[in-house]
Subunit: 494 residues, 2 copies
Amino acid sequence: MFPVQAGNIRRVSFATQLFPRINSSLNLETSPNLRADADHKADIDGSGGPFCGGRSRNKDLLTLFGFISDSQRGASTYAQLPLFRRSIRKLTQLVERELESVGAHEVLLPTLIPQKLWQQSKRLDRQQDALEHVYSFKDNANNELLLGPTFEESITQLMGDLDPPREQELPLLLYQTSSKFRYEPNPRFGLIRSNEFLMNDLYSFDISLDAAKRTYDLMTGVYERIFGLLDLPCLRFESDPGSIGGKYSHEYQLPVSSGEDHVIQCQSCSYSFNAEMCKQVGEDFADSSKCIKCSSQNIRRTQTLELAHTFLLSDTYSNPLKAHIKRDDGTKVNYQMGCFGLGLTRILGAGLDLYSLVPGGGVENEPANVNFIQMRWPSQVEPYKLGIVSPARRSKQFNAGSTIFIEGLTRKILESTRDVDVLIEDRDKDGIFKRLAKLQSLGIPNIIVVGQRFLHDTPEVEILSLSSSKKEYDQHWMTEDQAVDFVQRLENDK
Amino acid sequence: MFPVQAGNIRRVSFATQLFPRINSSLNLETSPNLRADADHKADIDGSGGPFCGGRSRNKDLLTLFGFISDSQRGASTYAQLPLFRRSIRKLTQLVERELESVGAHEVLLPTLIPQKLWQQSKRLDRQQDALEHVYSFKDNANNELLLGPTFEESITQLMGDLDPPREQELPLLLYQTSSKFRYEPNPRFGLIRSNEFLMNDLYSFDISLDAAKRTYDLMTGVYERIFGLLDLPCLRFESDPGSIGGKYSHEYQLPVSSGEDHVIQCQSCSYSFNAEMCKQVGEDFADSSKCIKCSSQNIRRTQTLELAHTFLLSDTYSNPLKAHIKRDDGTKVNYQMGCFGLGLTRILGAGLDLYSLVPGGGVENEPANVNFIQMRWPSQVEPYKLGIVSPARRSKQFNAGSTIFIEGLTRKILESTRDVDVLIEDRDKDGIFKRLAKLQSLGIPNIIVVGQRFLHDTPEVEILSLSSSKKEYDQHWMTEDQAVDFVQRLENDK
């Protein structure tokens, strides 16, 4: 008997698609929450602020299609449902694979941090309101604790407790992927700004500032590669290290109209700059009317969303927390550190905001030419790589043996690939067109439809594959063997 | 150039083995912390209580060998270092693979839980001191929150918000693997009882109590298979559902002298029973002098440690939280639920306590015949499956090309296996015997030594593989091809 659930294959079932009760009669064409106003400025989730065009759709999309639930009213957090977990896992694996490729190692630091550690590091001196957005409390024995939003102190204290490596073993790169906590009096934008979120944070340790700068450049390359793999065209800006501290820092900003930040992009020389960069050349960002590089007045202000932030910390933490390493001549020096953070839940939310298609609502200033809502994911992190649309029960194809054909095809695909996961859409009540629309709505990038030509002497299936713009699906007819080849190539291209 | 770090291969380096500063001159033979007294009752970690023989060695072992760090003094939590993360990941994957094989799906519920949800569920009524061991606090907007130690309310509220599945899609099994929090005024036993720990918890949803019982039996089989794969001989006992509530519950207890619980094992009929089972037949556990099944007086009291707990919840949570499903006749009924929890960090700690070997200290009542401390892991979750010991620099084997040989052998192994990970021990300062002892100390179950016979006309390597008792290594000499075959078989046996 063909396994209903085994490893990389799932049939569409309730458990992979947990629909919110309110959308039980899901109508992809007319869901009012997701229709933006004609001027694209509708405050669709009631969260629009002065810097928000009101087009952050990720929460509504993810809720509508059963990826997350905000059932836990009162804590401003989201439950991640099975389909969402698939995308988050793929994103986490992609990020960790890239980090390990440059020699990083995984750790897991405690979420509970003694508040006095933040006093020792002088963070609470440097920034009076450092705890304003932090959950802090006393346990029953009156110990002051906080829920870690960031872990510079924790990792530095750890390194101070461990035998230092030899110089040739540096840089030491330690990362973790874990839930982080930040108290938001006014949580909004769905996954973009919630009280509990998944973050990948990496900390680097070197023996000199020059070496730490080289490590910083190495990690900059890794982050650029990660955003490249995801097809998220982030801009990198110098920024104020702020309360984290250190020598300098950079932020990775995705131009998307749901963004909270503003940057200026020069239409003449393509240079992009932010408020911090304006300040450094004595310009005022709010009033700036020309490019700070080429002086062209052909500039455009763009809303952007921060997806990552990197800091050259120097010894901001290793000095007060006494984390030392020995030079060859025996002298002790402070570790020279860097820290690097990627917001994982935020990356998925921002990617959905950037690429998803809504009828009439448009997508990033271009009206979307779609008849129904279609999620679009950053590349490589779709919940399934491949969908298969089964024909309706009692259709001609069904009577001609489509079920056995699909099982055989799926088996061949799973045997000849390693990471391709398959979602078979065969829910009883729907016909072939509605089933196809469902998979397109989920943003599945490759879909095999067992349609009319399955009845030909040499049966063929239709393959829909998402174009690189993520707007339309390209269509091809293929024999079974060609379809298997096509899927194998998907994996090799990855 | 051969990659130093790539996927499944790691050279022994500082980053995989972060040693605590205090043990910088690590002496495997004489580390005083780990030598138990002659009567095996030494309170080696200062944590011995009335139910503790004082032999919980996991914290000392894990700290000594750089798996965890308690650098964060004051919060009674541990940082997990790279070697430990490898074991935890393997354990998590093993557990999740077994859960998915019966159709379970992953979710991730928020750690922050509004306290009022625990009022709605009547948990706070059922148990006056329900919050005694829970971190609870108010956020800056005066919302009462708690850090989830368990998630019956959260998952039930979620299901109440979602469209129910059709009856034929049941049982619905939802699991998560995440950090849980429990306030312990007196944390002890290392990983066994700490304030923050990794747990895998699964919740089941059915339409009738009979169906929920069948699901409970299904999950019982899954748990027994998991403990079988790990070679942890757990006993299963009926227990008091306590504050979780429900119809009945069972706990999985590992007989280990560091355990906090006591059971009686009949030496005549092999029946095991606990205090709860004594109570049910009107016996007093503390005074019991005979088997409650066969009445034999040949009984033995054993200390045990709880590694898992399962509950048939019935509608204890779905009734107050209004989580309903419809029968075919249209009537609404409460979900019939079960919940199932595995303590992941605790499983590793208990396995280490059970199997690790300490000179003179003995292991579970038998003196260990070892000259140096050797960690032993539950099966399948060792930090590396295979170690390779390189001969010392400037040895005869080294001069005969051992480095190139090892690189070629490693490449063949990685190309012909999928999940085997390799740790190459080639630290400059050590000779071949000390290198071998290091890998044995880490509990690496298979070790290839490039020793004397590497110089033969047909070079051979020595293979040490851990016996099923986990006490000694069996030794064999093999050619390169035989060694590759041997490693391939390891993977197939898994």
